[in-house]
């Protein structure tokens, strides 16, 4: 008799119900199986109506974020054996509207992302014929960590500020802004200042720190935000103290 583990999965079928329900399934408990493998087993063999997102199953595409036993996780990188004997409770990511079952709507982030100007802004461009913009390994280390974001939204799910106030710009968006601010090739820090120093920008963050704890790629968005608070404060101070010409 093979080992099995119960999975309690939140279901939401908007065409039939107005609130989510929980359905219980039993899946084989294999050493190599991630929570995602459990969900695939349910969908392939037991209940084809279960909807969820997944793609790469190696923790790099960011599709499969869900709440597992109360914590936001990438289900492809979380293993069933960690929850023995179960049950494994799988719910959609919190703080997002639920479209269906375990699928949440992340359009809010995609609308916010372009606002932080997540691209290289330059005073002067150089044609590719003239080669690369030089950047030493040290200069790259300055922003490298913040470039690791896979847009999985686990940080938004963990952030109580975002849960209480969806206008908050959010950890990943600010971390990506920092990724460009700290890139030695970028000259756009001044352009990003206004949005980031808006009350819904960095100042919305009260340093709960859950975003960094939830991040599967060690981006440390909390760190990115606090650093920017310091940067922004210094900017304000400079603007206040120094005459216009010297700034």
């Amino acid at each position: 008799m093979t080992d099995t583990i119960p999975m309690h999965v939140t279901r939401y079928r908007p065409e039939q119900e107005t609130a989510p329900t929980v359905e219980e399934y039993e899946v084989p408990l294999r050493r190599d199986w991630a929570v995602l493998d459990g969900l695939n087993y349910i969908k392939d063999r037991q209940d084809g109506t279960l909807s969820y997102r997944w793609s790469c199953r190696m923790g790099i595409c960011g599709s499969c974020g869900m709440t597992v036993n109360g914590e936001p996780m990438l289900t492809c990188a979380t293993f069933l054996t960690e929850y023995k004997p179960g049950p494994v409770r799988v719910e959609p990511l919190s703080n997002f509207p639920v479209i269906r079952d375990l699928v949440v709507e992340i359009g809010d982030f995609l609308r916010k992302l372009p606002k932080v100007m997540p691209w290289i802004v330059r005073d002067t461009e150089k044609p590719t014929a003239e080669g690369e913009y030089l950047q030493t390994p040290d200069e790259q280390d300055a922003y490298k960590q913040y470039s690791m974001c896979i847009n999985c939204m686990l940080c938004y799910s963990a952030c109580p500020v975002y849960g209480l106030d969806p206008h908050f710009l959010g950890p990943a968006a600010i971390a990506l802004a920092q990724r460009y601010n700290l890139d030695s090739r970028d000259h756009g820090a001044a352009d990003r200042l206004e949005l980031l120093t808006h009350p819904d920008g960095v100042w919305g963050c009260t340093l709960v720190g859950e975003c960094t704890r939830a991040c599967p790629k060690d981006v440390d968005p909390a760190g990115a935000i606090q650093r920017y608070k310091l940067t922004a404060a210094m900017q304000s101070l400079k603007a206040f103290l120094l005459p216009r010409g010297a700034r």
């Binding site: 392939d44 790469c56 923790g59 595409c61 691209w119 290289i120 913009y133 790259q140 890139d183």
Partner: protein, 579 residues
């Protein structure tokens, strides 16, 4: 409801995003839209690891890169396309750098390059071992700069609208709401990637189901060189997760159960403690995968519950190098195999990785159907021929994505507006999706069962080594599966984010593509590159120095023609590695 655009890109990976930028830059007045069944940053480009090749070394030349690519392809690629490709690759990679891509650097700040399989010079640019991830995110974030690029995120294109021999738009299903819309366009570029999911063990994500290939195929465009399926020599045994070639280019060894570097037995050179270009573990992927099969036959592979494996030995590289150059590899091994490559051997086996074949295009991404273009893994230009060299596919997406984008923009600017005749086709498709699929109940089989069956057929008939009998049996099995798929049951009849419906549509795409693969493999009676026939073990340039073109007949059968390869400055020769 109908939406109107000038250029529609199907697929939002490296090729699709690059093409969109190319259209927006070539002609800002054109209305361009990216229609992707996933959010663009989820596209499978994201999992590419090793690097992207482009000539920048002082000691490197375009001809060298071209020769490596041509010989790597076993002379099946079109040399004029390769020459254009190697010339444009460095510029595309530099453009990515200008857009912010964090290429790894030398201490003095210049772009660093590393060696890669089948290349005689070091020319592979890399961003640690997450090159595809950084490339995709850089491209995606750069597209946000162009407000004119519209995006249809999580819309699946189910049909191309073709009338009068020209493409006039697409029909797409919005996952969130289930609504089916007609999006008319003057030009369509297919950038939907490959179809690794027709096989059971693959590095490919769940989304790689050959959608664009099937769309073009059904619209009357031929698929080219479909029999050439690349097996990547080092995938993890259960999941198929990719362990990048960079692990070998940094010095990793492949050893069998006796701890012996077995590649030396297969005319790939002599073992050297340091990696030697174009030798041993830096040989081309097809030869390495074939060597694995022989090792298994000789009983020298290691048996595991997931089948035979060999070992990848990275221990001698040291923790510092692994953490700097191969951090993602270490993370993957720890998470998915509970193994630390710094101190332990990594079990690996060949897994399906890339499709050399795809929608037949010319050097500008144009298919024989007017207004229909293709780029990236979904297309076959061909620059990869019978076997692709590692680190050629990311620049391929960029170079041909840009080319196809520019060509599509030029065509769209001059093309007449789509006629109203296609609207009838669109309505037909809307009805088909509603009637044939959503209303289907009580069928005898689940989709997963048919899909597993297809994957097993492909593994048995179209693996690394093939023969006529197995292929013929495979073709018949696939015909049977096509029949069964038509009556497969659907549990989910909802309109809201119905992923089972998507799976059914993807399955039908995969079955069409699988039939094309087997038909081409059966016709090609020779062994070349990644297509190895035990009943025809030699290369036959007299009959087969040509691309297979497969056309779909009205009854679903495959009709195959041959198109001679364009040979320019490099006459066919022998592929020599390790000497």
């Amino acid at each position: 409801m109908t939406d109107v655009h000038d250029v529609v890109l199907v697929g939002g990976g490296a090729a699709g995003l690059r093409a969109a930028i190319a259209v927006a830059e070539a002609d800002p007045g054109l209305s361009v839209a990216i229609v992707s069944k996933v959010y663009p940053m989820r596209s499978h480009t994201v999992s590419a690891e090793g690097g992207a090749a482009g000539v920048i070394g002082a000691d490197d030349t375009l001809d060298d890169h071209a020769y490596d690519t041509i010989s790597g392809s076993d002379w099946l690629c079109d040399q004029d396309a390769v020459e254009a490709f190697v010339a444009e690759a460095p510029h595309e990679l530099l453009r990515l750098e200008h857009w912010g891509c964090p290429w790894s650097r030398e201490p003095d700040g210049h772009i660093a390059v590393r060696s890669f399989g089948g290349m005689r010079k070091m020319r592979t640019w890399f961003a640690a071992d997450k090159t595809g991830f950084h490339l995709l995110h850089t491209l995606f974030q750069t597209t946000l700069k162009y407000p004119g690029i519209a995006r249809y995120d999580e819309w699946l294109v189910t049909r191309l609208l073709v009338e009068d021999g020209r493409v006039q738009g697409v029909v797409a299903l919005e996952l969130m709401s289930g609504r089916v819309e007609i999006i008319t366009a003057r030009a369509v570029v297919l950038c939907t990637g490959g179809c690794g999911r027709v096989f059971p063990f693959t590095t490919n994500a769940n989304i790689k189901t050959g959608d664009g290939m099937a769309l073009a195929y059904r619209a009357g465009a031929p698929l080219k060189d479909m029999e050439f399926v690349q097996y990547h020599p080092t995938g993890l045994p259960f999941t198929g997760i990719l362990i990048t070639e960079a692990a070998r280019s940094e010095g990793g060894w492949l050893i069998n159960k006796d701890g012996y570097r077995y590649l030396q037995d297969y005319d790939l050179g002599q073992p050297d403690p340091k990696p030697v270009l174009r030798s041993m573990e830096l040989g081309p992927r097809d030869r390495l995968s074939q060597a694995f099969v022989h090792e298994v036959e000789k009983g020298r592979a290691i048996d595991t519950p997931y089948g035979p494996v060999v070992h990848l030995d990275l221990r001698h590289l040291g923790q510092r190098l692994i953490d700097t150059k191969l951090p993602f590899v270490r993370e993957l091994c720890l998470n998915y195999q509970n193994i630390d490559p710094v101190t332990e051997l990594v079990p690996v086996r060949p897994v399906v990785h890339y499709m050399m074949g795809g929608v037949h295009t010319d050097m500008h991404g144009a298919t024989p159907i007017h207004g229909l273009y293709a780029a990236g893994e979904a297309a076959c230009v061909s620059i990869n021929g019978a076997n692709r060299l590692g680190s050629n596919s990311l620049p391929e997406c960029l170079v041909f994505g840009a080319r196809a984008g520019r060509a599509a923009a030029e065509y769209a600017a001059a093309a007449p507006a789509p006629g109203s005749a296609v609207l009838a086709q669109g309505s037909d498709e809307q009805r088909r999706l509603e009637r044939d699929l959503l209303s289907r109940t009580g069928g005898p089989e689940r989709i997963a069962v048919i899909r597993d069956g297809m994957q097993q057929v492909m593994e048995d008939s179209a693996g690394i080594y093939r023969d006529g009998d197995a292929l013929a049996k495979g073709a018949e099995a696939l015909r049977d599966l096509q029949q069964r798929a038509r009556s497969a049951t659907l549990d989910d009849h909802s309109h809201t984010f119905n992923t089972e419906l998507i799976a059914a549509l993807e399955l039908s795409n995969m079955l069409d593509v699988a039939e094309a693969i087997i038909a081409c493999a059966l016709q090609r009676e020779e062994s070349r590159g990644a297509h190895q026939r035990t009943d025809f073990p030699g290369r036959d340039d007299d009959r087969f120095l040509a691309h297979s073109l497969v056309y779909r007949q009205p009854d679903g059968a495959c009709r195959i023609e041959y198109l001679p390869v364009t040979i320019a400055r490099w006459p066919p020769g022998q592929r020599v590695y390790g000497r």
